[in-house]
């Protein structure tokens, strides 16, 4: 569905992404992981056409992204990113309705149908009873759901998530990702998520792309990508990798410096 071909990108002098190539199939749940500065967020920004790569191209169902109009892109790809604090707080319904924007063009007012779609999006994200409340009165977790609803109102085929679980507690992290997962499984939405949290990525994603200094270091299933050696090479630190006892997916445990000396001694 999405075809990234030899994409290289830089903001000023230094290349942030180098020769990145991968495909995303319809309905996949991809996790993009890597250290700070590895280019995760930049990659997403290129995928939703905030920036254009200096080299290479991105194809969406075989059409180059840069040949599509902005509204076309918006009707297919929606983003849930870091939100700036609302200066003039809109109400939840108003924000979700903003997701209908690509379909409204120069029209000023939303139609009944737009309202219906927004309502459905809010049902899916279980925020219907918040619809009249101003956004600044909601908690972090609730706010995130509002923005997912807004993304859903765009009726996209792909949803991009940029560090969605930062600032959320465990409960909300799980809740959020369960929601995303159900959107993926039940609605067939393709999800591409950039995240720091490798355990979450491992639990929820079908495939992982590990970036290192702008290049793809490893790509594949969580079992293939998350190994002790890979982590050591890319992140430069020792971790303990085993399996989540319930799901059997790779699980990273952090080690204190002293601990992993003991651990290495103990293992040999």
């Amino acid at each position: 569905m999405i075809d990234v071909r030899s994409v290289s990108f830089r903001y000023q002098k230094d290349w942030v992404l180098r020769d990145v190539t991968f495909q995303v199939g319809k309905g996949e749940f991809i996790g993009v992981i890597g250290p700070n500065g590895s280019g995760k967020t930049t990659l997403l920004k290129i995928l939703y056409r905030l920036f254009s790569p200096q080299q290479g191209e991105v194809l969406f169902e075989l059409i180059p992204l840069k040949k599509m109009t902005r509204t076309d892109v918006a009707k297919r790809i929606a983003v849930v990113a870091q939100e700036t604090y609302p200066l003039f707080p809109f109400r939840v319904l108003e924000i979700v309705l903003m997701g209908r924007s690509p379909y409204l063009g120069y029209l000023m007012f939303e139609s009944e149908r737009d309202l219906e779609i927004a309502k459905k999006a809010m049902e899916w994200t279980e925020i219907l009873n918040f619809s009249e409340r101003p956004i600044d009165e909601l908690s972090g977790g609730e706010r995130k759901r509002v923005f997912i609803a807004r993304a859903l109102a765009q009726e996209p085929e792909v949803i991009l998530l940029d560090e969605p679980t930062a600032n959320l507690d465990i409960h909300h992290q799980i809740e959020f990702l369960d929601l995303i997962l159900s959107l993926n499984r039940e609605r067939g939405l393709t999800i591409i998520m950039a995240t720091h949290d490798m355990n979450l990525a491992s639990e929820f994603c079908d495939r992982l792309i590990l970036l290192r200094e702008g290049r793809i270091y490893k790509m594949g299933s969580p079992q293939e990508v998350i190994t002790k050696e890979t982590i050591k090479t890319v992140y430069g630190c020792e971790v303990w990798v085993d399996q989540n006892p319930v799901s059997a997916m790779p699980r990273i445990s952090l080690l204190r410096k002293e601990r992993h000396e003991i651990e290495t001694v103990g293992r040999d």
Binding site: Y48, L50, R70, T71, V73, A74, K75, I77, A78, V79, A81, E83, T84, Y85, P86, L87, F88, P89, F90, R91, L93, E94, I95, L97, M98, G99, S101, P102, L104, Y106, L107, M108, F109, E110, L115, K119, S131, E132, D136, Q154
Partner: protein
Amino acid sequence: MKIITRKKVIVISISLTILLGLVILFSITVGSVKVGPLRSITILIQSILGLKGAGTDTERAIILSLRVPRALLAGLVGAGLSISGAIFQALLRNPLADPYILGVSSGAAVGAIVAILMGLSTLSMGLPLASFIGALLTIVIVFNFGRQDGKIHPNTLLLAGVIIGSSLSALIMFFISISQKEELHTIVFWLMGDFSFSNPHAILMVFPYIFFGFILLYLRARQLNLILSGEESALQMGVDVERLKLLCYLLASLITAASVSVCGLIGFVGLIVPHSVRLIFGPDHRLLLPSAALIGASFLIASDTFARTLLAPTELPVGVITAAFGGPFFIYLLKTRKVLKTL
């Protein structure tokens, strides 16, 4: 579920227009000369219909040549300043923004002062014209500095505007220090903002900018809502953010330039009216823009009316009244409703 619908906007706009009409009627019936309310209104209606008859020549002159143009001009300027204030607050994402924040007003002031020092009468059209040119030049300069790689960065633009505005203020101080006593009085008077020389020419000059500016901005009201959530958000929802910003900045600056060049620097309106309207009607620009325009017009007409009647026959500068009434009212709003928790 409550959302902003076409119907809601129309109903509220009509109500506010009725309010505006009442304020205009009020303003033409009071003044330092007592012309009865009935007679004033009759004179007005008759002149619209092309008749004559009611009132003496003096009374007709007072109503038709003094009070009506003054109300119309104050209304236009009040609407203009409120609209541009709302737009700047949205684009710069700064609640402290007002129409003068990008230095346009200082440019207009320099233009006016140069004209005054060259001997141009405040009654001629040369003065507003010079002022407008000063404002336009400032817009060009500030925008040149505020754009980088073809994109407008709000903070850079803001910085450029504030710095250029300050430099121009220094220039204004210089002019004040070298001017003679008589010119000095005129300069200070202009800087304080005044409507006592409202004439039909000024109204004709200002009207197109404010009217068409409003319409062009209103067509983009929905997209302006999106920008408030963040430029990247707006972009990913399909808005051509750079073009929208450029257009809106230019329109808002032109509206400010036109307003300031006919009546000087009237403070408070462009800051308080948008905030007050947001507190009552919410931040959605589809309702905010027309409401702010209509309420701003009413507010300034009322302020000007008080300015010329409170201490009759002496006329106070209208800026004194907008501050005196606007300030406390806004503080009251702040206390009784939640405004901006980010402040």
